[in-house]
Symmetry: C2
Amino acid sequence: MGPNAYAATCPTRLVLDRIADKWAVLVLGLLLDGPVRFNQLRRTIEGVSQKMLSQTLKSLERDDLVTRKAIATVPVTVEYSITSLGKTLAVTVDSLRIWAEAHMESVQDAQQRYDARKAAGL
Amino acid sequence: MGPNAYAATCPTRLVLDRIADKWAVLVLGLLLDGPVRFNQLRRTIEGVSQKMLSQTLKSLERDDLVTRKAIATVPVTVEYSITSLGKTLAVTVDSLRIWAEAHMESVQDAQQRYDARKAAGL
DNA sequence: GAATGCTGGTATCTGATGGATACCAAGTGC
DNA sequence: GCACTTGGTATCCATCAGATACCAGCATTC
Protein backbone atom coordinates (compact mmCIF):
# COMPACT_ATOMS: atom_id res chain seq x y z
CA MET A 1 0.00 0.00 0.00
CA GLY A 2 2.73 2.47 -0.88
CA PRO A 3 2.22 5.64 -2.83
CA ASN A 4 0.28 5.28 -6.06
CA ALA A 5 0.29 7.92 -8.77
CA TYR A 6 -2.99 6.60 -10.13
CA ALA A 7 -4.89 7.49 -6.96
CA ALA A 8 -6.44 10.95 -7.10
CA THR A 9 -5.55 11.91 -3.53
CA CYS A 10 -1.98 10.56 -3.48
CA PRO A 11 0.58 13.37 -3.11
CA THR A 12 2.63 11.57 -5.74
CA ARG A 13 0.27 13.08 -8.27
CA LEU A 14 1.38 16.59 -7.27
CA VAL A 15 5.03 15.64 -7.47
CA LEU A 16 4.56 14.03 -10.86
CA ASP A 17 2.77 17.11 -12.14
CA ARG A 18 5.67 19.25 -10.98
CA ILE A 19 8.49 17.21 -12.50
CA ALA A 20 6.72 16.37 -15.77
CA ASP A 21 7.48 19.88 -16.95
CA LYS A 22 9.35 21.04 -20.02
CA TRP A 23 11.33 23.77 -18.28
CA ALA A 24 12.19 21.66 -15.25
CA VAL A 25 13.55 18.96 -17.54
CA LEU A 26 15.77 21.43 -19.37
CA VAL A 27 16.99 23.13 -16.18
CA LEU A 28 17.85 19.87 -14.43
CA GLY A 29 19.61 18.60 -17.52
CA LEU A 30 21.88 21.64 -17.56
CA LEU A 31 22.61 21.61 -13.84
CA LEU A 32 23.85 18.02 -14.14
CA ASP A 33 27.05 19.49 -15.58
CA GLY A 34 27.65 21.84 -12.66
CA PRO A 35 26.40 25.09 -11.12
CA VAL A 36 24.99 27.68 -13.50
CA ARG A 37 24.02 31.32 -13.01
CA PHE A 38 20.53 32.63 -13.63
CA ASN A 39 21.13 34.55 -16.84
CA GLN A 40 23.40 31.84 -18.11
CA LEU A 41 20.48 29.41 -17.79
CA ARG A 42 18.27 31.97 -19.44
CA ARG A 43 20.54 32.28 -22.44
CA THR A 44 21.16 28.56 -22.80
CA ILE A 45 17.53 27.53 -22.56
CA GLU A 46 16.40 29.58 -25.54
CA GLY A 47 12.89 30.87 -25.26
CA VAL A 48 12.36 30.74 -21.51
CA SER A 49 10.95 33.92 -20.13
CA GLN A 50 12.51 35.30 -16.96
CA LYS A 51 9.23 34.71 -15.21
CA MET A 52 9.01 31.01 -16.09
CA LEU A 53 12.68 30.45 -15.29
CA SER A 54 12.56 32.05 -11.85
CA GLN A 55 9.25 30.34 -11.16
CA THR A 56 10.65 26.96 -12.17
CA LEU A 57 13.82 27.47 -10.12
CA LYS A 58 11.82 28.53 -7.08
CA SER A 59 9.71 25.37 -7.26
CA LEU A 60 12.77 23.19 -7.74
CA GLU A 61 14.40 24.87 -4.76
CA ARG A 62 11.31 24.31 -2.63
CA ASP A 63 11.39 20.63 -3.52
CA ASP A 64 15.10 20.43 -2.56
CA LEU A 65 16.08 19.50 -6.09
CA VAL A 66 18.17 22.62 -6.59
CA THR A 67 19.96 25.08 -4.28
CA ARG A 68 20.22 28.81 -4.74
CA LYS A 69 23.30 30.76 -3.76
CA ALA A 70 23.61 34.52 -4.04
CA ILE A 71 27.19 35.68 -4.53
CA ALA A 72 28.21 39.20 -3.45
CA THR A 73 29.73 40.27 -6.74
CA VAL A 74 28.66 43.40 -8.48
CA PRO A 75 26.06 43.14 -9.73
CA VAL A 76 25.04 40.30 -7.40
CA THR A 77 25.09 36.99 -9.22
CA VAL A 78 22.98 34.00 -8.27
CA GLU A 79 24.23 30.51 -8.78
CA TYR A 80 22.03 27.43 -8.96
CA SER A 81 23.33 23.94 -8.24
CA ILE A 82 21.72 20.54 -8.21
CA THR A 83 21.20 18.70 -4.91
CA SER A 84 21.85 15.01 -4.35
CA LEU A 85 18.10 14.38 -4.47
CA GLY A 86 17.87 16.45 -7.63
CA LYS A 87 20.64 14.46 -9.22
CA THR A 88 18.65 11.24 -8.96
CA LEU A 89 15.76 12.95 -10.72
CA ALA A 90 17.89 14.74 -13.29
CA VAL A 91 19.29 11.48 -14.58
CA THR A 92 15.75 10.24 -15.09
CA VAL A 93 14.30 13.32 -16.76
CA ASP A 94 17.33 13.82 -18.93
CA SER A 95 16.51 10.53 -20.62
CA LEU A 96 13.21 12.19 -21.54
CA ARG A 97 15.06 14.94 -23.36
CA ILE A 98 17.29 12.37 -25.02
CA TRP A 99 14.26 10.37 -26.16
CA ALA A 100 12.71 13.52 -27.61
CA GLU A 101 15.87 14.35 -29.54
CA ALA A 102 16.30 10.77 -30.77
CA HIS A 103 12.72 10.21 -31.91
CA MET A 104 11.73 13.72 -32.92
CA GLU A 105 11.78 12.82 -36.60
CA SER A 106 9.63 9.70 -36.22
CA VAL A 107 7.10 11.71 -34.27
CA GLN A 108 7.01 14.49 -36.84
CA ASP A 109 6.52 11.99 -39.65
CA ALA A 110 3.69 10.35 -37.73
CA GLN A 111 2.02 13.70 -37.21
CA GLN A 112 2.17 14.52 -40.91
CA ARG A 113 0.72 11.13 -41.86
CA TYR A 114 -2.05 11.56 -39.28
CA ASP A 115 -2.92 15.05 -40.45
CA ALA A 116 -2.89 13.97 -44.10
CA ARG A 117 -5.27 11.10 -43.34
CA LYS A 118 -7.60 13.47 -41.51
CA ALA A 119 -7.45 16.05 -44.29
CA ALA A 120 -8.32 13.33 -46.80
CA GLY A 121 -11.59 12.91 -44.95
CA LEU A 122 -10.29 10.07 -42.77
CA MET B 1 24.57 19.16 -35.26
CA GLY B 2 21.68 16.87 -34.40
CA PRO B 3 18.49 17.97 -32.76
CA ASN B 4 18.91 20.07 -29.64
CA ALA B 5 16.12 20.60 -27.12
CA TYR B 6 17.82 23.76 -25.87
CA ALA B 7 17.38 25.53 -29.22
CA ALA B 8 14.18 27.54 -29.42
CA THR B 9 13.31 26.54 -32.96
CA CYS B 10 14.16 22.84 -32.72
CA PRO B 11 11.04 20.66 -33.12
CA THR B 12 12.38 18.58 -30.24
CA ARG B 13 11.05 21.30 -27.99
CA LEU B 14 7.50 20.58 -29.15
CA VAL B 15 7.93 16.87 -28.68
CA LEU B 16 9.37 17.35 -25.22
CA ASP B 17 6.51 19.61 -24.26
CA ARG B 18 4.06 16.95 -25.39
CA ILE B 19 5.59 13.99 -23.57
CA ALA B 20 6.48 15.85 -20.36
CA ASP B 21 2.82 15.67 -19.41
CA LYS B 22 1.21 14.19 -16.31
CA TRP B 23 -1.66 12.47 -18.12
CA ALA B 24 0.50 11.14 -20.93
CA VAL B 25 2.86 9.59 -18.37
CA LEU B 26 0.00 7.86 -16.58
CA VAL B 27 -1.67 6.65 -19.80
CA LEU B 28 1.54 5.24 -21.26
CA GLY B 29 2.36 3.56 -17.98
CA LEU B 30 -0.95 1.71 -18.02
CA LEU B 31 -0.80 0.72 -21.67
CA LEU B 32 2.57 -0.95 -21.05
CA ASP B 33 0.60 -3.84 -19.51
CA GLY B 34 -1.64 -4.30 -22.54
CA PRO B 35 -4.59 -2.74 -24.38
CA VAL B 36 -7.09 -0.82 -22.27
CA ARG B 37 -10.53 0.57 -23.08
CA PHE B 38 -11.37 4.25 -22.77
CA ASN B 39 -13.55 4.14 -19.68
CA GLN B 40 -11.25 1.63 -18.08
CA LEU B 41 -8.43 4.18 -18.41
CA ARG B 42 -10.78 6.82 -17.09
CA ARG B 43 -11.57 4.82 -13.98
CA THR B 44 -7.99 3.73 -13.32
CA ILE B 45 -6.47 7.18 -13.73
CA GLU B 46 -8.52 8.77 -10.97
CA GLY B 47 -9.31 12.41 -11.55
CA VAL B 48 -8.87 12.65 -15.32
CA SER B 49 -11.75 14.37 -17.01
CA GLN B 50 -13.14 12.77 -20.14
CA LYS B 51 -11.98 15.80 -22.06
CA MET B 52 -8.36 15.59 -20.95
CA LEU B 53 -8.26 11.84 -21.47
CA SER B 54 -9.63 11.92 -25.01
CA GLN B 55 -7.44 14.92 -25.81
CA THR B 56 -4.34 13.15 -24.46
CA LEU B 57 -5.16 9.95 -26.33
CA LYS B 58 -5.75 11.85 -29.56
CA SER B 59 -2.34 13.51 -29.28
CA LEU B 60 -0.63 10.25 -28.46
CA GLU B 61 -2.34 8.64 -31.46
CA ARG B 62 -1.22 11.49 -33.72
CA ASP B 63 2.36 10.97 -32.57
CA ASP B 64 2.08 7.22 -33.29
CA LEU B 65 2.66 6.37 -29.65
CA VAL B 66 -0.74 4.75 -29.23
CA THR B 67 -3.27 3.13 -31.60
CA ARG B 68 -7.04 3.44 -31.38
CA LYS B 69 -9.32 0.54 -32.31
CA ALA B 70 -13.10 0.76 -32.24
CA ILE B 71 -14.74 -2.62 -31.62
CA ALA B 72 -18.28 -3.27 -32.89
CA THR B 73 -19.75 -4.40 -29.60
CA VAL B 74 -22.82 -2.83 -28.15
CA PRO B 75 -22.26 -0.23 -27.02
CA VAL B 76 -19.20 0.28 -29.20
CA THR B 77 -16.04 -0.04 -27.15
CA VAL B 78 -12.75 1.60 -28.04
CA GLU B 79 -9.48 -0.05 -27.22
CA TYR B 80 -6.16 1.74 -26.97
CA SER B 81 -2.84 -0.06 -27.36
CA ILE B 82 0.73 1.06 -27.27
CA THR B 83 2.83 1.10 -30.46
CA SER B 84 6.42 -0.07 -30.72
CA LEU B 85 7.55 3.56 -30.78
CA GLY B 86 5.34 4.27 -27.80
CA LYS B 87 6.83 1.38 -25.91
CA THR B 88 10.30 2.90 -26.06
CA LEU B 89 8.91 6.11 -24.61
CA ALA B 90 6.69 4.43 -22.05
CA VAL B 91 9.64 2.70 -20.45
CA THR B 92 11.32 6.07 -20.06
CA VAL B 93 8.38 8.01 -18.70
CA ASP B 94 7.32 5.24 -16.38
CA SER B 95 10.59 5.74 -14.52
CA LEU B 96 9.37 9.29 -13.91
CA ARG B 97 6.26 7.95 -12.19
CA ILE B 98 8.39 5.52 -10.22
CA TRP B 99 10.73 8.33 -9.12
CA ALA B 100 7.74 10.38 -8.00
CA GLU B 101 6.38 7.51 -5.94
CA ALA B 102 9.77 6.70 -4.44
CA HIS B 103 10.75 10.25 -3.48
CA MET B 104 7.35 11.75 -2.78
CA GLU B 105 8.01 11.85 0.94
CA SER B 106 11.41 13.52 0.66
CA VAL B 107 9.90 16.16 -1.59
CA GLN B 108 7.01 16.80 0.77
CA ASP B 109 9.37 17.14 3.72
CA ALA B 110 11.51 19.59 1.76
CA GLN B 111 8.45 21.66 0.90
CA GLN B 112 7.41 21.87 4.53
CA ARG B 113 10.89 22.91 5.62
CA TYR B 114 11.02 25.52 2.86
CA ASP B 115 7.61 26.94 3.73
CA ALA B 116 8.47 27.02 7.45
CA ARG B 117 11.69 28.92 6.72
CA LYS B 118 9.79 31.43 4.61
CA ALA B 119 7.06 31.83 7.22
CA ALA B 120 9.74 32.49 9.84
CA GLY B 121 10.72 35.52 7.82
CA LEU B 122 13.47 33.72 5.90
C1' DG C 1 -42.92 1.83 -20.70
C1' DA C 2 -40.21 5.27 -18.23
C1' DA C 3 -36.02 5.65 -15.61
C1' DT C 4 -31.37 4.51 -15.17
C1' DG C 5 -27.01 2.82 -16.60
C1' DC C 6 -23.42 1.65 -19.93
C1' DT C 7 -20.42 2.91 -24.08
C1' DG C 8 -17.10 7.11 -25.90
C1' DG C 9 -17.16 11.08 -26.84
C1' DT C 10 -18.10 16.70 -27.81
C1' DA C 11 -19.65 21.61 -26.42
C1' DT C 12 -19.54 25.17 -23.20
C1' DC C 13 -18.01 28.00 -19.47
C1' DT C 14 -14.71 29.60 -16.04
C1' DG C 15 -10.61 29.91 -13.19
C1' DA C 16 -5.68 29.05 -13.51
C1' DT C 17 -1.59 29.34 -16.11
C1' DG C 18 2.10 30.54 -19.80
C1' DG C 19 4.39 33.92 -22.16
C1' DA C 20 5.35 38.82 -23.58
C1' DT C 21 6.38 43.14 -21.99
C1' DA C 22 7.69 46.65 -18.98
C1' DC C 23 9.83 48.00 -14.87
C1' DC C 24 13.00 47.95 -10.74
C1' DA C 25 17.74 49.07 -8.07
C1' DA C 26 22.57 49.13 -7.92
C1' DG C 27 26.69 49.37 -10.29
C1' DT C 28 30.26 49.55 -14.54
C1' DG C 29 31.92 51.35 -18.80
C1' DC C 30 31.94 55.09 -22.31
C1' DG D 1 24.16 61.25 -19.09
C1' DC D 2 23.30 56.82 -21.62
C1' DA D 3 23.61 52.13 -22.25
C1' DC D 4 24.25 47.71 -20.38
C1' DT D 5 24.88 44.23 -16.68
C1' DT D 6 22.90 41.50 -12.62
C1' DG D 7 18.24 38.79 -10.95
C1' DG D 8 14.18 39.48 -10.34
C1' DT D 9 8.83 41.24 -9.84
C1' DA D 10 4.29 43.27 -11.75
C1' DT D 11 1.03 43.49 -15.20
C1' DC D 12 -1.65 42.09 -19.01
C1' DC D 13 -3.63 38.89 -22.26
C1' DA D 14 -4.30 34.52 -24.76
C1' DT D 15 -4.44 29.99 -24.09
C1' DC D 16 -5.46 25.95 -21.51
C1' DA D 17 -7.09 22.63 -17.74
C1' DG D 18 -10.94 21.12 -15.43
C1' DA D 19 -15.96 20.94 -14.24
C1' DT D 20 -20.29 20.38 -16.03
C1' DA D 21 -23.78 19.33 -19.18
C1' DC D 22 -25.20 17.06 -23.20
C1' DC D 23 -25.39 13.54 -27.07
C1' DA D 24 -26.95 8.70 -29.31
C1' DG D 25 -27.85 3.82 -28.94
C1' DC D 26 -28.81 -0.06 -26.38
C1' DA D 27 -29.51 -3.13 -21.83
C1' DT D 28 -31.37 -3.64 -17.57
C1' DT D 29 -34.47 -2.43 -13.87
C1' DC D 30 -38.75 -1.06 -11.72
